[in-house]
Amino acid sequence: MSEDPDREAPDPRQRFNQDYAEGVVDVQERGGAEVPNYLENNLVKFIQVLRHLGIRVSSAEALEGLQAVELVDIMNRYEVKTALRATLVKDLDEIPIFDRAFDLFFVPEEKKTERIEVRTHKKAARAQQLKQAEDDLKFQGDKLTLSEEQRATYARLGDTQKQKLKDFLAQSSGGHKVDKSFQPMIENIVRGHLERWRRQMEAEFTVDDEDLTGDEELDEIIEQILAGTGEENDPILSEDMRNIPDKDIPKVTLIIKRLTRRLATRISRRYRMARKRQRVDLRRTIRSSIRYGGAPFALKYKSRRVQKPKILLICDVSGSMARYASFILQFIYGLSSVVRGIESFIFSENLERVTPYFETKRPFEETMAEVINHSVVWGKGTDLVTSLQTFRRQYKQLLSSDTILIIVSDTKTLAANEAAGILATMRRRVRDVIWLNTLPHNEWGGLGSVEAFRRNSEMFECYTLAHLERIMRRQMARRMTG
């Protein structure tokens, strides 16, 4: 729209816009601190923060946000916030993130400077700690070869843990007949140690550098928000199932119910949609048109039949896996309305069929308790070969081309290669083999068993409820449309 004729001097904002439009100013240059505090500029920065926080804001939406801000009272924080929220955020889950970002981003100038100072401080401290880590972790006076991440882990350890590591190094350095050739071994031990700590701390939170923008001011906000978002969503969803305390089990049961119900409706919608792809049934159309004297008054359609898959679940219930098994069993049974049948087995030293327990309509907790009480294999060691052989001998007829075989296990079994061989023969007789591996993905690398089984199945990392939900959603959806 045209400018107001009665405007005396072009205001700074107008000039900025003109510069921008004419390309006088390189956009890149505007990232720096010397860019004044303009509305558009701040908005663009704010949107950048949102994007780094995982909120997808398109340029069209950004423009709309600007239009919206101009429509409300710019002096009123609440209205501006509402306006931006309505135009930039389109998802309920993203609203809390937006709100925090807004509150952190739009603050008085003094606060901003203060924040940057704190951040520079923190950064310096962090560098100092890394340096310290390097100095601390020495074997016979030589620095250990550790990754940046491992050093950072060390820096974040408590003093007692640090001391323990240092003591260990000091002791081993001075050991009898210990020379330089021991260094790789010592390094491995230290790495293993740090790795374990890192995993434990990861549950708390770390920021990936990829999430950051490089702009100090924005990064500070992003870090602050990311650090807090873990608590926003239900933490149980991203908790390792093994670590869920007993007192939370009723809550988990409820969450699983909710998740599966939602997933089941979603899947059944897919069925109906797949069935809807229909074409005209000529025979029936002509037949029904006879009564109208041959005029095809109403068209008749025929639709495709969609076959629901069967699920065959084989769950590892050896000592470390038992907790996963009970959650996953519950989850899979929550989907029973959208599959044609579920056959379930548990195994450790050998295999047991548990399907009959689940056929009665009782609360899941009771059924599960009964399974555990009656099972002779619950909590024993893992022997997948014997288990699969038992399966092949007694239940071979359950394998069919519309069955999805789901195996839940951490792959740590005796004779993995042999077991993989059996799995390969089973695979030919089913539609798909999905392997839910309860080991985190980053631990797969060193394990031969993972490699062996991976060749014969689609393997997914699955140690939290969130993983489980995502895998089942994707896999089931793919099979519906495919």
């Binding site: 107001d4 398109s58 423009l63 239009q67 009272d73 924080r77 929220r85 309920l92």
Partner: protein, 399 residues
């Protein structure tokens, strides 16, 4: 007609719709930007009602399209009246045959024989809600209810229509809207909506009301309840909604039904036994009722409610873990002046002392923004005030 947020707020109030400030601001923006308004929220929080209120306060037609699975263009946009076309063909055919026989006798009838005419003309066009909204004489309110229920293909089609409001009917040509309808879409978030649709909409999420708001709603809709009882009802409902692990949280409509039921029982205050007796007005499935019953036996609901009310210091029980931040239970907050510099309305130096000294608590008076804050320095919002923002094509005023 131009209108302000203030006007809209008063209009909503006059219509008896008790709302939060964010609802008003968002609705206002959607209308002013000429964008569809997408409302999400649990069932029974008043999503559909917003469209109805809009149609009443702007005194215009409400065109409703109920989405469901299998809804297709034929039922949403237009359809040729197949039966009527066939009948016409049949009639013309019979006419000409009959006439052929009588031809020699009566030449007059020959003139009466109708020609077939154009079978694809307006006469045979069945208007469905979308086309109706596009061809309406005055700006209508188009309500697309439960849009999450429709299929994804239809959703894609829908956002094409919603983005330019033209429809092309191959036989008739392209029909463009005379004016952009006020579009309201509602969704129960049963399914993720596509990004495309979301991108084209202004988004509003309505949560279950705070205790304070629910009290106001009860007082507005069932005024006989009286202040004491209505507060107790609102608190109890809030507790049942968020304090108990239930499947289906009671909606506002159910709260109101409950209030009426309690009135019918001549209750003047809420007790555990009354809650137990009337619980089926609120909870509609056995498992939830069992939960409530267990709670009543266990520690009692009302004592717990009072406890919470006390600890919350009067109004607004902070029971819900994820209450939408920014929702102001107690009306709108006072304008925050230094905020102008935070959002970047220009350097602080532009704001004169007089302006700082005179913040208006209400919105009755438009605040004088410092130069450089709004495009024209005036409160009245204009479209496309700055060259950076391409002005949207003028599609007629929302009014």
């Amino acid at each position: 007609m131009e209108f302000t947020i203030d006007w809209l707020r008063r209009a909503f109030e006059a219509d008896g719709y008790i709302s939060d400030e964010d609802i008003i601001v968002t609705v206002y923006l959607a209308l002013r930007l000429g964008k569809p308004l997408l409302i999400e929220g649990a069932p029974g929080v008043g999503k559909t009602e917003i469209a109805k209120v809009l149609s009443r306060i702007f005194n215009t037609e409400l065109i409703r399209l109920q989405a469901y699975e299998g809804l297709d263009e034929n039922k949403a946009l237009y359809e040729w009246n197949y039966q009527k076309q066939l009948l016409n063909i049949q009639a013309v055919k019979e006419d000409s045959q009959g006439q052929g026989a009588k031809d020699a006798k009566d030449a007059k009838d020959a003139k009466g024989a109708k020609p077939l005419g154009d079978l694809f003309s307006e006469d045979y066009l069945l208007e469905r809600p979308l086309l109706k909204a596009i061809r309406a004489e005055t700006t209508p309110v188009l309500l697309i209810d439960e849009v999450d229920k429709c299929d994804e293909e239809f959703e894609a089609f829908l956002f094409e229509v919603l983005s330019d409001f033209t429809v092309s009917v191959p036989e008739l040509g392209t029909i463009a809207a005379r004016q952009i309808p006020m579009v309201v879409l509602t969704s129960n978030s049963e399914r993720e909506l596509s990004d495309g649709l979301k991108r084209r909409c202004v988004y509003l999420h309505i949560d279950f009301p705070s205790v304070d708001k629910e009290i106001r709603i009860i007082n507005a809709k069932v005024p006989e309840t009286g202040p004491k009882l209505s507060e107790e009802i609102a608190r109890a409902v809030n507790y049942i909604r968020f304090g108990l692990e239930i499947k289906k949280r009671p909606s506002i409509a159910e709260t109101l039904d409950w209030a009426r039921a309690l009135l019918a029982l001549d209750a003047d205050r809420l007790t555990d036994s009354l809650v137990g007796k009337t619980a089926n007005m609120l909870l509609k499935n056995k498992e939830d009722l069992d939960v409530l019953e267990a709670e009543l036996e266990d520690r009692g609901v009302m004592s717990r409610v009072e406890e919470l009310a006390k600890s919350a210091g009067g109004l607004a029980v902070g029971l819900k873990p994820g209450t939408t931040p920014g929702t102001m239970p107690g009306g709108r907050p006072a304008p925050n002046l230094p905020f102008a510099s935070q959002i970047g309305g220009g350097p602080m130096a532009h704001i004169t002392a007089a302006q700082i000294a005179g913040p208006q608590p209400g919105r009755a008076q438009p605040q004088q923004a410092p130069p450089g804050l709004t495009p024209s320095g005036s409160q009245r919002p204009r479209r496309g005030g700055s060259p950076m923002v391409p002005s949207p094509p003028r599609r007629g005023d929302p009014r």
